[in-house]
């Protein structure tokens, strides 16, 4: 891509920029919010953004078939994130139980 010329808005560019934007929103959320559940959601957003980027890496323009490798990577990433979310939610619940027990 040359500097000085307006880059053409191809679908992969749109998706790529959207992916980075979603990741950035998640990053801000993960760093700046206090609420435990919101932080988990923000981390989920980050993973969606990273997934977007990998999907864009698979895109090769309409006539060619997409590259299957990044798709496999995205699926692995989703599986990893699902288990991580489950652990985080379990910890949040446990912590909430412990804190209410202490209050009463």
């Amino acid at each position: 891509m040359m500097f000085g010329t307006m880059p053409q808005l191809t679908p992969d560019l749109i998706y790529g920029v959207a992916g980075i934007a979603v990741f950035a929103i998640g990053l801000v959320g993960a760093l700046c919010t206090q609420d435990r559940l919101r932080r988990v959601l923000a981390l989920k957003l980050c993973s969606v953004g990273a997934g977007f980027l990998l999907v864009v890496a698979a895109w090769r323009g309409p006539p060619a078939a997409p590259d299957p490798v990044p798709h496999a990577l995205v699926i692995t990433g989703i599986v990893v994130m699902v288990s991580a979310t489950a652990v985080a939610l379990a910890l949040i619940r446990r912590l909430q139980t412990l804190e209410t027990e202490d209050d009463t």
């Binding site: 790529g16 993960a30 990044p70 985080a88 412990l98």
Partner: protein, 480 residues
């Protein structure tokens, strides 16, 4: 087909973890067998590497970039051996140290999963697999952090979880960028790639993610609480081994894809200096023994990064060896120290530093172990910590970078100061109210930390063979 030791090193702990979960009553035995099998596999692998240099295994016969390859070279096997040996001794200690049935039940599956992930990191050759492995490590490590079940531990574990997942996702984002640029993810492809701005950006994302996971100042905020509130065997594993996985990936990455700028190397060294100073001050202020030990981990991580940056960009070809020595030294000594701190706490009943010398019970063997580990962490000869610090300063002096020498010296003085706070209490006998010598507080569980501490000291005498071993197989040379 014969069983390859690399396969065994990955699958023995993995199947062991499943078996230990399914058979909770036999979890301890299953765990010990799995760790012993891993040790055997690492020994076999070390013999192969000694004979032939780097060993590569393509899983299922698929060559990279399509398939997944495992590769063992000197540095990788040294890390595997440190992990397996420390892991074995911590496991032996855990048999005695974990009192509650619930802790015993969940410790073994989590620890074996952790071992699987660490072995995967040390054998992995492509960055996506490394991402998956650091997530496996993160989940198992959070589980170990909250094992004690107290409110502080769960709170610290949750903080650790956020930091760890965020670090892994930053790494994943970098992986995505690399795939966009190169269309492949194996280290061989990274070496061959032309340096470009986009590749540097990807590298920067991955490095920030790794620094968060390895807790380099100022990204260390999650570490002290997490390591101080875990049960003793878990703390030993977390502090001695887990932070090293991300550190190892950092070393691999930065030497495969050279850092683009001298300023970046200096910045990493400066962050290390920040860790040494800030961690040292915090360790001086810590009120509890385990918290002090946890802050000393922050200091040591900083020291490893100073070793990495000691001679600037040009010196990277040599500096990684000093960093690797410090990684090995810290792994062994810190595991010993956390186990000893756990033993002291078990015997005395608390771990408030100020009141340790008022206890009627003197866990002398654990105190001796703590002192030996402190000698290696401070860096007194002939310990491995001394050799690591010496090669750090030697390289810095040769390159004329005296500021790194100065920071290391200040850090050493600080570490003498904060460890003296503890050791001075061990040596005072005038405050004891109860009759002395009634209870020495020795137990079978002292054997594991004592062995670790003695090895931390005596491995320094073997520094030359260790140094020539980690160079085997051209870990960072031109040969991929």
């Amino acid at each position: 087909m014969t069983l390859d030791p690399m396969i065994l090193a990955l699958f023995a702990p993995l199947f062991g973890a499943v078996a230990a979960f399914v058979l909770p009553r036999a979890a301890g035995a299953v765990g010990l067998v799995a760790v012993l099998l891993t040790c055997g596999a690492v020994l076999a692998l070390a013999r192969q590497v000694l004979a032939a240099g780097a060993v590569t295994l393509e899983l299922g016969g698929w060559a990279p970039p399509m398939g997944i390859a495992l590769r063992a070279d000197g540095l990788g096997v040294a890390m595997l051996a440190m992990t397996a040996a420390v892991g074995l001794l911590v496991s032996v200690g855990a048999l005695d140290a974990l009192r509650e049935a619930r802790q015993r039940q969940y410790f073994w599956p989590l620890w074996l999963l952790l071992l699987t992930g660490m072995n995967g990191v040390y054998l992995g050759t492509d960055i996506f697999n490394l991402y998956v492995m650091i997530e496996v490590i993160a989940l198992a490590a959070v589980g170990l952090t909250v094992l004690s079940g107290t409110r502080e531990a769960v709170r610290a574990g949750l903080e650790y979880m956020y930091a760890s997942i965020l670090g892994a996702l930053l790494f994943l984002m970098g992986v995505g960028f690399v795939y966009l640029q190169l269309g492949r993810l194996d280290f061989a492809g990274l070496i061959a790639a032309e340096p470009s701005a986009a590749l540097s950006a990807a590298l920067a994302l991955m490095i920030v993610g790794l620094l968060l996971k390895t807790a380099l100042f100022p990204l260390h905020f999650w570490l002290p609480a997490a390591h101080a509130n875990a049960t003793a065997p878990a703390s030993a594993l977390l502090s001695g081994l887990v932070v090293k996985a991300a550190l190892y990936i950092f070393l691999r990455l930065t030497t495969h894809v050279p850092l683009p700028d001298e300023i970046l190397v200096t910045l990493i060294g400066a962050l290390g200096a920040g860790a040494v100073l800030w961690g040292g001050v915090q360790a001086l202020r810590a009120e509890r023994l385990k918290l002090l030990v946890a802050w000393s981990t922050v200091v040591q991580i900083g020291l490893i990064f100073i070793a990495f940056a000691r001679a600037g960009q040009v010196g990277l070809a040599e500096s990684w060896k000093a960093a690797a020595l410090l990684i090995l030294a810290h792994g062994v000594a810190k595991a010993a120290m956390f186990l000893a701190a756990g033993r002291i706490r078990d015997e005395v009943g608390h771990d408030i530093i100020r009141d340790l010398d008022r206890a009627p019970i003197r866990p002398t063997l654990a105190q001796f172990t703590f002192a030996l580990a402190a000698i290696s962490l401070i860096g007194l000869p002939p310990s491995l910590g001394f050799i690591g610090k010496w090669s750090l300063m030697e390289g810095a002096m040769a390159a004329g970078y005296w500021h790194w020498v100065a920071v290391t010296m200040i850090g050493t003085l600080l570490s003498v100061a904060y460890f003296s706070r503890v050791l001075a209490g061990f040596l005072r006998f005038d405050r004891v109210r109860a009759p002395l010598g009634e209870h020495q507080g020795w137990a079978l569980a002292d054997i594991a930390p004592l062995t670790l501490a003695i090895s931390a000291i005596s491995l320094g005498l073997l520094a030359a063979p260790i140094l020539s071993f980690i160079e085997l197989g051209y870990p960072f040379g031109a040969k991929p």
